[in-house]
């Protein structure tokens, strides 16, 4: 009898497709056959293959069963578990990166690792069991650091690796460590920024839910390097599973003497506590985050002094993003040289993206820096569904920008994305097809940053409000000549004059869409037209000759704007029409045109 481990993804998308019910059925089925002791069930957070959910991964063998239904469960147990015959019919065959990774991980470690560095263990180990992590060289990097390396050597290694912050700004990590290490102690802090505020991204959450120990290990190494004994993970309260997994991981690490006093028999002490955020985007900004940990409103303050010199409780503080931390153990184990061989001249290693929107395969992807957006969207993402045309790819969330089709060959690295008018950001990547209106998208992001502005500095608080007003009037068909220039002027001013990164980047979605889609703005303002058919106030509905006179539209029209006799072509009274679009969705004969 073989021993198996079955991983069930219970990320939100899979739960939405009843992965929890599948788990219950699976348990029941295994119990019925007396197989409970031979099969271990791992529950994982989002594994990043959302479009195929719900799915099971059966190990060893890395067979992925996608789109699993209740009736598939007994078949999988009977064939795969009892008879050891994987079922090709139900397995996911496509060579989407995620899948390829699993297969390769089994035999050629090197190639697999190149693709998945930070997410290397996600979906393979049981995140609630430290033994799984230990079995895959977990905490080996920590042991190496504590026994063979001086703090200076650790910092030199990180510096040499070329690792840059994954939280958005891309600051060289080794340099930051060096700056913090130089500050006088003994009280210093190490913080993991797990606030993940980009509304459309969930990389950090998956990393923690899938492999919390990697983050802890990275932080302990960081603490050793800069001479700190106190680590804090600042995490969103909206991620309860991630919080619970971190708590369990911390508990287990303490039991194994990997946290606490005299770690692994050395005289190095380090402990980690969890602090919850409370839903404020600006708290992802490092100085605001510090305020929040101190128990205050999360308002940023001017830098310098940087947290490296004066951070939490006024003490030197090292803040890095979740994904940045997850890279550390690998860099220590495999060496800076290996790490810096991946990626481009200025951007080393890999980057995780949360690919979503109008794309066939949604989910998490980790690719080497320098991969082009086209490769991510088409080769991994499978392109645009429904034969539609790609209009734009948005990266960097509310601080980033929209890139048009002609920029698809832009490689993902910090400099290239910035040059194209967007940013790397923390890893959100949203694909938009022709049904997205760029002016409306810009308005959407600005509405977000405007409402998240903490209100401390005037350019951000008032400036974003004025920009939003202008955008709102444009989408309502009340745009005025000169509005585009007004937006550009205001946007550039806000970027220059705001206190923190929120304001400094808030105009980016607007400025980048103006740069790449200026004609869409002009059509909205001059011709009062929305080419994508999104801005309701700008649409005109007319009935075409395809009308058979069924009267369905007349019935649904809430304002009685449609008239006509049965079996004859109807007409819409444009003066009465409120552009609600009900007739358009009701008509079965495609006889209503919208432009």
């Amino acid at each position: 009898m073989m021993e198996y481990a079955i991983t069930i993804c219970e990320g939100p998308t899979c739960i939405g497709r009843h992965a929890d019910r599948l788990r219950a059925i699976l348990l029941e089925e295994l119990a019925k056959r007396g197989l409970k002791d031979h099969v271990r069930i791992n529950i994982s957070g989002c594994l990043g293959m959302c479009h195929k959910g719900p799915f099971l991964v059966v190990n060893p063998g890395y067979t992925i069963y996608g789109g699993v239904t209740e009736s598939d469960i007994p078949v999988i147990v009977e064939e795969h578990i009892v008879k050891d015959r994987p079922i090709a019919r139900l397995a996911v065959q496509e060579d989407h990166l995620f899948n390829r990774f699993y297969r390769i991980f089994g035999d050629v470690g090197f190639f697999g690792k190149q693709m998945r560095i930070t997410l290397r263990n996600c979906g393979i180990i049981d995140p609630e069991n430290i033994d799984d992590y230990l079995a895959l060289r977990g905490y080996e990097a920590l042991a190496k650091v504590l026994t063979e390396m001086t703090p200076q050597q650790v910092i030199a290694e990180v510096k040499q690796s070329g690792l840059r912050g994954r939280g958005g700004a891309g600051f060289p990590t080794g340099l930051k460590w060096e700056l913090t290490a130089k500050q006088p102690g003994p009280e210093k802090y190490v913080i993991c920024n797990a606030d993940e505020g980009d509304p459309g991204a969930f990389m950090d959450r998956s990393a923690i839910e899938g492999d919390p120990h990697t983050i802890l290990e990275g932080m302990i190494i960081g603490g050793y390097a800069i001479g700190s004994n106190h680590g804090i993970v600042y995490i969103r309260a909206e991620y309860p599973l991630a919080v619970r997994r971190l708590e369990i991981a911390i508990q287990q690490a303490r039991q194994h003497n990997l946290l606490g006093k005299g770690i692994l028999g050395t005289n190095f002490d380090f402990d980690i506590e969890i602090r919850l955020g409370a839903g404020a985007f600006v708290c992802g900004e490092e100085t605001a985050l510090i305020q929040s940990i101190e128990g205050a409103r999360g308002m940023p303050r001017p830098r310098p002094p940087f947290p490296a010199t004066s951070g939490l409780f006024g003490k030197p503080t090292l803040i890095n993003n979740v994904e940045t931390w997850a890279n550390i153990p690998v860099i220590i184990l495999e060496g800076a040289k290996w790490f810096s061989s991946i990626g481009t001249e200025t951007s080393k290693g890999t980057k995780v993206f949360a690919l979503a929107g109008c794309v066939v395969n949604t989910g998490l992807v980790e690719v080497p820096m320098g991969t082009t957006i086209r490769q991510v969207v088409y080769d991994i993402g499978g392109g645009i569904p429904g034969g539609k045309r790609l209009t734009a790819v948005q990266t960097g969330g509310p601080s980033g920008g929209c890139l048009p089709e002609s920029y698809l060959d832009t490689p993902v690295d910090y400099e290239s994305l910035a040059k194209a008018g967007s940013i790397m950001g923390s890893g959100g990547m949203i694909v938009m097809d022709e049904t997205a209106c760029m002016v409306d998208v810009a308005r959407f992001f600005l509405e977000f940053t405007q409402s998240e502005s903490c209100g401390k500095c005037t350019p951000c608080r008032e400036g974003t409000k004025r920009m939003l007003e202008i955008l709102e009037r444009i989408v309502q068909g009340k745009g005025r000549p000169g509005d585009i220039e007004r937006l550009e002027r205001l946007g550039n001013m806000i970027k220059k004059a705001s206190l923190c990164g929120l304001g400094q980047s808030a105009p980016n979605p607007v400025l980048s869409t103006i740069r790449h889609f200026r004609d869409e703005y002009q059509q909205h303002i001059e011709q009062k037209r929305c080419p994508a058919g999104v801005c309701k106030a700008l649409l005109t509905y007319t009935i075409t000759d395809a009308c058979v006179g069924c009267g369905a539209c007349k019935k649904v029209c809430p304002v009685g704007a449609i008239s006509g006799t049965k079996k004859e072509k109807h007409v819409i009274d444009q003066a009465k029409c409120i552009r609600c679009g009900q007739c358009y969705t009701t008509c079965k004969f495609n006889a209503i045109s919208r432009s």
Binding site: T13, P199, A356
Partner: protein, 163 residues
Amino acid sequence: MQTTTDQNRQQLIEYINQLPDRPYRDSYLIAVLHKAQELYGYVSRDAMDLISSQMQIPTAHIWGVVTFYHYFRTQPPGRYQISVCLGTACYVKGAAEVLQAFKDRLGVEAGQITEDGLFSLLEARCLGACGLAPVCMINDKVYGQLNPDKVGRIINDLRKAAR
């Protein structure tokens, strides 16, 4: 006999008392507020006063913190808390229409609660279920691939279940 409010009160005090007694005790304010919301379902003025006297922090400061963070509620929530995702992936797939449908059917704006106390409506940012966009979460359950029709059905079902 102790009422539940008394019990909650007692638990909150105990929670505050067990906080690490290190120099930066005030820094646990947000953790205490999370605890209060977990116990009461929201952070009431009374709870703030209690925290104020227990932690020796002015209520005005606590009020400032509570109102800064979206996560904290100062009103009791409805029996069904509907969070409509307005994250980017959901937005490009029509979340605005879904939110409008909820508003129309419930007759409330985002951030409000229906008169019968059954539903409260909230806007959320990325629930991590982008693969099912547009989505909403009702209590702990995710509903995916929504459209205005589905919204109507969901509300009807919940109304029936509540009877």
